[in-house]
Symmetry: C2
Subunit: 411 residues, 2 copies
């Protein structure tokens, strides 16, 4: 009997995991490599950073997700490079993993556009460690502000600056405004409620540029109604310990700059800031039997536009590539079906567009809740997050407000 | 109007928190100081380390617990010393907090008895950071073992050594055995199930010495039935990267030594390894208007025996001291009421003694569940932990299996 073809999938995000699941119990041997042992439900990551959800509610252990599929295995590892000629993936610890088919689904990481002062002072919101760091940081700012000895210091600690008006920036700004409103007046008698300031900076003309202008305007109004100061056409030029400096030389004193203003692909092959070029069948140009999907690849829709770095194209591409491998190639090109876009601003406020439909407000919010529960991995997580949301809805609480780090490993 | 007397409570554990709660809405100004912003339910900490509970399920934010009591405030701070003569507490950042009454409830920390090699290689299980570190470490050992290239390395990674046969050691050993049994055979096909070894080392003659010998024997049998290797009369003399060395020169190769073999009081005044001497009214000998309660103080029962370093004496002492302060002193001495002791070994197995009653097995386990839910702080946490336990009972799962650290704060 011929051994089954060996498929190596690098990355257990939306694309890689869909591909692995579609290859379950099929005549292939699949190895899913990821440096984290969990699949992260990134659309809810800002709820971890804003004290609503626990890490384990948005992170499903990959071994658990893949349980019961003897032909699909997980391996913890960081990919350092790929040797297309010898058909093997090289890990950071120099182990080599041979493949017959390779699927690169390595996602993306925060892009500081080479600005070192921003990189050094920014807090990211792209992975679970960053979300926990941001949660700890914000809670620590409140504690330090409560004991600040000068007005200047208190002012700086209570100024929260979010850079980037895309979905992550908008959703986190809304969630932070709610955290402030629900918790600070009741639990920080030392702090004047009005002392808190949340500033959202966007370089372009409007928030949420992937939505129609009407919904962008609505998002801005809703954020402003919740106390968020929105500044569009505003670019950050540098940052230091005292705060951020804008391109027009304005300085904003702040201890917190959350950077959601850019992502770049995690390209383990060329380490270039551009997405990998793929053909219409998602094959990496210049390599054999290598696919790239999701944020790392520049796949295009039927109009020739590069697809956004969000989860739905990655998931569809993962399933497409799985079928491609099973069928032995020669398929029609990948065709992305746009299922629509959603973003939430806070309680009772979200925006969405699905096909020609546009919605916002309470309806948008309910749709947002249902869709996110539906796509959350694992029945237990779904149940738990639903209970959390119900609790939050009834009690207006932010329960996960503990400042905690895992101690560093002992030497 | 005379200002209210100022009560400073150092430590938001069981003793300090009970004291603060008993002073709510009374004619005193209370400041509760703790370096962590949460009260930790330490009896369930091992369930965080063994992937059953989330951190926020055993940690309640102190500001939330104290919400709605305008005379009780929280302050984040690390106490560096106390000036009894000038009646003030000195924090690590040199801020001084004046008091009229001081309550020292600083608890205890891991005791390595001055053994540097053990301190450097041990994993503790005494606070939330340590529990998360241990959880990450054990999961990483499994991942590294799955990819180990030599039998020796795999053997060392799958040898888990727990030092100390008190409740923490027994409960964690039982929980780790269940984690291994429930997860490894189904999710780590690379690992032979029998390769896992859990060794519990106890220096004395028997496990759980605070219980009657019959229950100690039962605990040992139950642990052994679950695959834990129990060695009594066994002392660890040193540790290094390869493993631990016993006093009889035996070496155990292991990458994991969990140290639960000793605690020492966190004495912010003298920094001595002994508990603070207190009189029968829990006043620190040699100081005026200073009380010490819980693990940090050597309070005695009616027979003159020093009370154990567990939560019930701390809680009772906290309430006693609150009444003492409100009544202006001159009370009868503190009298500890022993409500009994419980420890769990795993599913369907626990031991307990309450007065003359002794119980074990399923009954003990149910009593353990009910008592721990009852004392868990906060209705939401109770509901969530109950659901978790129900889920675990039905599904035999260990859901919180993510390896995650908060990134270190950016420079």
């Amino acid at each position: 009997m011929r051994p089954h073809p060996r498929v190596v999938i690098v990355g257990g995000g939306f694309g890689g995991l869909q591909c692995a699941k579609a290859l379950r119990d099929k005549p292939v041997d699949v190895l899913l490599v990821d440096r984290h042992n969990y699949h992260l439900f990134t659309p809810l990551l800002y709820q971890v950073a804003s004290c609503l959800l626990n890490p384990s509610e948005v992170a499903a252990p990959l071994r658990k997700v893949l349980r019961g599929a003897p032909n699909v295995r997980y391996r913890a590892g960081e990919v350092a490079g790929v040797d297309f000629a010898r058909k093997c993936v090289r890990l950071a610890d120099d182990v080599e993993l041979p493949y017959d088919h390779l699927v690169l689904a390595t996602g993306s990481t925060t892009n500081y556009y080479g600005n070192e002062s921003i990189r050094a002072h920014a807090l990211g919101l792209k992975d679970l460690g960053e979300a926990l760091q941001l949660r700890n940081h914000v809670l620590e700012c409140l504690e330090r502000a409560a004991n600040a000895t000068t007005d200047d210091e208190r002012h700086r600690l209570l100024n929260f600056c979010i850079v980037g008006g895309g979905p992550t920036g908008v959703e986190y700004a809304g969630a932070l405004a709610e955290l402030a409103r629900l918790v600070v007046p009741y639990e920080y008698p030392e702090l004047p409620a009005s002392a808190l300031r949340i500033v959202l900076l966007e370089g372009g003309e409007r928030l949420l540029p992937m939505f129609v202008p009407r919904l962008s305007d609505y998002a801005r109004r809703e954020l402003e109604r919740r106390g968020v100061e929105v500044r569009t056409n505003t670019l950050v030029s540098s940052a230091d310990d005292r705060g951020v400096t804008l391109q027009d030389a304005t300085e904003i004193e702040t201890a917190t700059m959350v950077w959601t203003a850019g992502v770049r692909p995690n390209d383990p092959v060329h380490e270039k800031p551009e997405r990998l070029t793929v053909d219409d069948q998602l094959r990496v140009v210049g390599a054999k039997n290598v696919f790239a999907i999701g944020d790392v690849a520049a796949a295009r829709d039927k109009h020739g536009n590069v697809l956004a770095m969000v989860s739905p194209p990655a998931m569809q591409a993962g399933r497409y590539v799985a079928r491609h491998i099973l069928d032995g190639g020669a398929r029609r090109g990948f065709r992305y079906r746009d299922k629509g876009t959603l973003a939430t601003i806070g309680r009772h406020a979200a925006v969405g567009q699905v096909g020609r439909l546009r919605f916002r407000g309470f309806v948008g919010w309910v749709v947002w809740l249902v869709v996110h529960l539906y796509y959350l991995i694992g029945f237990e997580n779904r149940l738990r997050v639903m209970l959390r949301w119900a609790w939050y809805y009834l009690r207006l609480d932010r329960p996960v407000r503990v400042i905690v780090r895992a101690d560093p490993p002992s030497e």
